[in-house]
């Protein structure tokens, strides 16, 4: 039987498939269980035979077709059906092991140009069997060399062979490999012709391809391979014109991979396809507020969603929360006093409405409390944050806010007790820890706070050094791909912490600060990698920026202890990580100011302000330095700017008062001092703005 001509092979294959099909459709003649099983076995034997012969025929034909190309080398529909049916029949009979084995045998056959769609179907089906019907424990490993022994009584088509073949060893490996093969064929064979006569074909091809992409999403998300997923969806866009499902999946993959501005564009396209889909609009707005700082765009998106929703929509309350966040963020980035006031009021009203719509949502209550706190309605804020904690008793931002509210009521001891409890629940939260060092500084003195700071550095090492180790080896793709869920979660956590800490002493979320920190980050990356190519820093940038923030805080503590060399050392450490930051320039200025080197201090502060014109602390200190130098006119101008940037800072008002006094404007000066006193009485130990406006 070895040298049968292709024609004979084809005929034989067809006859076997017809025989099998006849037997199958005839059904069992008796009800005897034994007989039924017997007949099923016979059907399968025919199908298996037909399949092997047909695949061999195709391989032979392809060999010949290289000389004379004649079309028509296709497997007829009955035989194709026989090939597709046989593994499924095994499984239907309850014999999963044989079914999977048959699938694998068929897939290992060297493919030809004419069997690709068959192959795609088989690969997808086996992947489905693996993902839907098995778990890691029940996975059946591949037996590689079993079928190589040509003991079977029939001619076998050629199979893939070689030394360096990838052989899956467990469930995820095999499922991913199958999906990879299916995806490659699917994106290649996709029907792109959009004319009417191809509509049916295109629909079927789209359905088949989507099925592959769905399985791919299910598998890749489990192992947090978001970049891979983005690449795949990118390829899918070619045939997904106007298909909401694929577009939305693409957007989600981009969000997970951290490609926010692209994600926003894709989400907007999704929203065009389904204008009434609230989730898409809310996702887009969240990106605008939390990642891209496009407050106006975000507000417009939420407005669009609110307009199309009725009041009893389950997302209505969250929409209002998002809207409030938008107003509040915009208010903090607005320069005009009147506009800022009306935006704050709008934000407060919107949060109140969110709370009315859904009184059980801790997030609505939390944001209401935060907004009240920002507007210094302290007792009302305390009431709201306490109710919020009743709905979610361990929400970290509510706990932090409550601590700050206690400090603004000057209940430092109670604040300390609470923050200790909060830190027991969230021992790795650096933002909480920084607040704790401030409290310790007030209650127990800077020495004590120093210890906490050192512990923060240790903690940083513990948390992120593994991360650094992980990526140090020179494997380019490793950094991007091989992280499990916990590494992924840890990295997003670092990102979150960084956002919190970065805004921490700016006291405002102005566009300038945001732009500044973005520019700084890029420039620092360039500078640090250009300076030392050999020692370019390992690990992801965020974790290093976190470390820089801790150093800066430490420097400040040393200054208050009059330990100049230590403080300088800290600033040095920071600038080696993050050389072009306004934070570094500011701290350098502080050191000079402490040494009474006002001229140098002044130029440092000016540097800081040229990077970030809205850095309140630099403005305050520049004002003081100018005042010390006797340049009161200039000092007044700078401090007025400080007051304008952040009108809630009592230090700015106090200093402005001092300067005005020296200028002889005693009436204006006393007004400033009054304002300062009034603000001071409700002022928290660190600004309320350290608490982020987040939708989760």
């Amino acid at each position: 039987t070895q040298n049968m001509s292709p024609r004979v092979l084809q005929l034989l294959a067809e006859s076997f498939s017809i025989k099998g099909a006849c037997l199958e459709s005839k059904g069992p003649s008796t009800t005897s269980k034994f007989k039924v099983a017997e007949q099923e076995k016979q059907v399968l034997k025919c199908y298996d035979m037909a399949g092997d012969l047909a695949l061999l025929y195709i391989q032979e034909r392809e060999k010949m077709a290289q000389n004379n190309s004649s079309g028509d080398e296709e497997i007829d529909i009955l035989t194709e059906n026989a090939i597709k049916q046989s593994p499924l029949l095994y499984i239907k009979m309850g014999n999963i092991k044989q079914g999977v084995g048959r699938f694998r045998e068929l897939l290992r056959v060297v493919e030809s140009r004419f069997t690709q769609s068959l192959r795609q179907a088989l690969a997808r089906q086996l992947a489905e069997v693996l993902i839907r019907g098995m778990c890691e424990k029940t996975y059946i490993p591949i037996e590689t060399y079993h079928s190589d022994s040509n003991n079977l009584p029939r001619p076998q088509p050629r199979k893939y062979s070689g030394d360096n073949l990838f052989v899956p060893r467990e469930l995820h490996e095999e499922a991913l490999l199958l999906l990879l093969v299916a995806e490659a064929i699917a994106t290649r064979e996709a029907v792109l012709n959009r004319s009417v006569e191809h509509q049916e074909d295109r629909h079927i091809s789209y359905e088949n391809t989507t099925a592959v992409y769905d399985l791919l999403a299910i598998t890749l998300v489990r192992c947090t391979q978001f970049l891979k997923l983005c690449d795949s969806f990118e390829k899918a866009m070619r045939f997904s014109f106007e298909e909401f499902h694929i577009w939305h999946q693409f957007a989600n993959a981009l969000v997970c991979a951290g490609k926010y501005s692209r994600a926003l564009h894709v989400l907007k396209e999704c929203s065009r396809l389904k204008p009434r889909n609230t989730v898409v609009l809310l996702q887009a707005a969240k990106l605008c507020f939390e990642c891209l700082h496009l407050y106006n765009d975000g507000i417009n998106l939420v407005q669009q969603a609110i307009d199309s929703c009725s009041d009893n929509h389950p997302l209505m309350s969250r929409l209002c929360v998002a809207m409030g966040i938008g107003y509040s963020l915009k208010a903090q980035s607005t320069k005009l006093q009147g506009e800022r006031y009306s935006l704050h009021k709008k934000a407060l009203d919107t949060f109140k409405r969110a709370y009315e719509l859904d009184p059980n949502d801790h997030l609505a209550l939390f944001h209401l409390a935060l907004q009240l706190a920002i507007q210094r309605q302290i007792s009302e804020a305390v009431r709201c944050v306490k109710i919020s904690l009743r709905h979610k008793n361990d929400y970290v931002h509510s706990l932090h806010l409550l601590v700050l509210l206690m400090t603004s009521e000057k209940k430092y001891e109670e604040g300390m007790t609470l923050i200790k409890a909060a830190l027991q629940e969230y021992p790795d939260n650096l933002s909480l820890m920084l607040t704790r060092t401030k409290l310790e500084e007030v209650l127990l003195g800077p020495e004590y706070a120093l210890n906490t700071c050192r512990r923060m550095l240790e903690l940083w090492k513990e948390l992120y050094e593994t991360d650094v180790d992980d990526t140090s080896s020179e494997r380019k793709y490793r950094t991007l791909t091989s992280n499990d869920r916990s590494t992924f979660d840890r990295r997003s956590f670092a990102q979150l912490q960084l956002n919190e800490l970065n805004d921490r002493d700016t006291g405002s979320l102005r566009a300038e600060s945001v732009a500044a920190s973005r520019v700084e980050q890029t420039l620092s990356e360039v500078a640090s990698s250009a300076g030392s190519i050999l020692h370019s820093r390992r690990g992801c940038q965020e974790t290093w920026l976190l470390q820089a923030q801790i150093w800066l805080h430490l420097a400040e503590l040393y200054l208050s202890l009059d330990k100049m060399t230590e403080a300088e050392g800290c600033v040095q450490e920071t600038s080696s990580i993050f050389p072009l930051s306004h934070h570094v320039a500011f701290m350098k200025g502080r050191v000079f100011e402490h040494k009474h080197k006002y001229e140098e201090a002044k130029s440092c502060y000016e540097n800081a302000l040229s990077i970030n014109p809205a850095h309140t602390k630099s403005l305050q200190h520049l004002g003081i330095v100018l005042h010390e130098q006797g340049n009161n006119k200039m000092a007044e101008k700078v401090l007025r700017e400080a007051v304008n940037v952040d009108p809630t800072s009592h230090q700015s008002w106090f200093r402005l008062g001092l300067v005005l006094e020296s200028l002889g404007q005693s009436e204006a000066a006393s007004e400033c001092h009054m304002t300062s006193l009034g603000l001071e009485s409700t002022s928290p130990i660190v600004p309320f703005s350290v608490i982020p406006h987040m939708l989760q």
Binding site: C135, Y160, P168, A184, Q225, Q249, H313, R390, E425, S486
Partner: protein, 318 residues
């Protein structure tokens, strides 16, 4: 509230069991359906801590026993324990859940190390298209058109290693590590889901649905308020609990990683033993993820609901 009789007997019987009978006891205890039903119902009724503590203690004894059947007995209860734990935690705080917490933490810490004492590290390779495999030859499927992605496919790379672990050991569950611990514990359930009983699948679906929907009135309306895209005849009914605002219990915190773990189990269960409850749970989690805007969960739930729709529509055709 007191323990049901069968549960009390179960507690007493195992304590007085001589060592040489443990093996035969282990092979029968999972078949005792009256006992397991009672245990599920017990956890569901959210009893007082003092009632639950001895039960949790014994479950942990089972879990760390050398008898694999005893271990599986405990494992089958994990989803309902997680639900009870989250629920009790949200209503009455940490003090009321000590027993449950001890069980979950114990299981977690056992999972961090292998029986031989080495840290438990899971790895597998992520295949790449450019490396030939037993199922394909890179050059034969490569695209006709010369595009960047087509070229990158030929960029020869070895399969990358995906690796998870080693996991840190913990002394206590805190707000920070809670969700990570719970998803690891649930993983012990889902990786062996095909070998667990239909009854445990049933309670698994119920627990997932409850974790997703507790404290919400009508999350399902998120979808129905859009233009009706596709309606399944057997899709879950829009739920409405007729309670007044304010009467609702607190919502349960659930992280994306925990939901994704649930979903991988639910997908199996939906196809193999609990089509209706499984589908309902997947939809519940989908709505919850839509509410929380969890992009990674939405990827999975949209993929699952979409693929299930194709299954349903194609099975209808034939």
């Amino acid at each position: 509230m007191t323990l049901p009789k069968t549960v009390r007997e179960w507690l007493a019987e195992f304590k007085s069991l001589p060592d040489n009978e443990v093996h035969s006891y282990a092979s029968t205890v999972r078949q005792n359906e009256e006992l397991t039903t009672n245990l599920y119902c017990l956890f569901e009724s959210l009893p007082q801590a003092e009632v639950l503590d001895p039960v949790c203690h014994q479950l942990f004894e089972f879990y760390r026993s050398k008898e694999s059947e005893l271990k599986t007995f405990s494992r089958e209860l994990i989803p309902v324990v997680i639900w009870t734990y989250l629920s009790a935690l949200s209503t009455s705080g940490k003090k009321s859940v000590r027993g449950l917490e001890a069980f979950l933490l114990g299981v977690y810490n056992l999972e961090t190390t292998l029986p031989d004492g080495k840290p438990n590290v899971k790895t597998f390779r992520i295949p790449t298209f450019s490396q030939p495999s037993i199922y394909h030859e890179p050059s034969s499927i490569s695209s006709i058109s010369l595009t960047e992605s087509a070229l990158s496919r030929l960029d020869r790379r070895e399969a990358e290693e995906w690796c998870s672990g080693p996991l840190p050991q913990y002394e206590a569950i805190t707000g920070q590590n809670r969700q990570a611990i719970l998803s690891t514990v649930l993983q012990t359930f889902t990786t062996e889901i095909a070998e667990l009983t239909t009854q445990s699948h049933h309670w698994f679906c119920k627990s997932c649905s409850r974790i997703a929907t507790t404290g919400f009135l009508s999350l399902g309306d998120i979808q129905s308020q859009e233009e009706t895209a596709f309606s399944l005849s057997d899709s879950p009914e829009p739920r409405r609990r007729h309670s007044q605002y304010g009467d609702l219990p607190p919502r349960l915190a659930v992280s994306p990683s925990l939901i994704i773990e649930m979903l991988s189990g639910l997908y199996y269960v939906t196809f193999n033993s609990q089509p209706h409850l499984g589908l309902k749970a997947i939809y519940d989690l989908h709505y919850r993820a839509s509410y929380e805007l969890y992009a990674d969960v939405l990827l999975v739930t949209s993929a699952m609901t979409n693929s299930l729709q194709t299954v349903v529509s194609s099975s209808r055709d034939s």
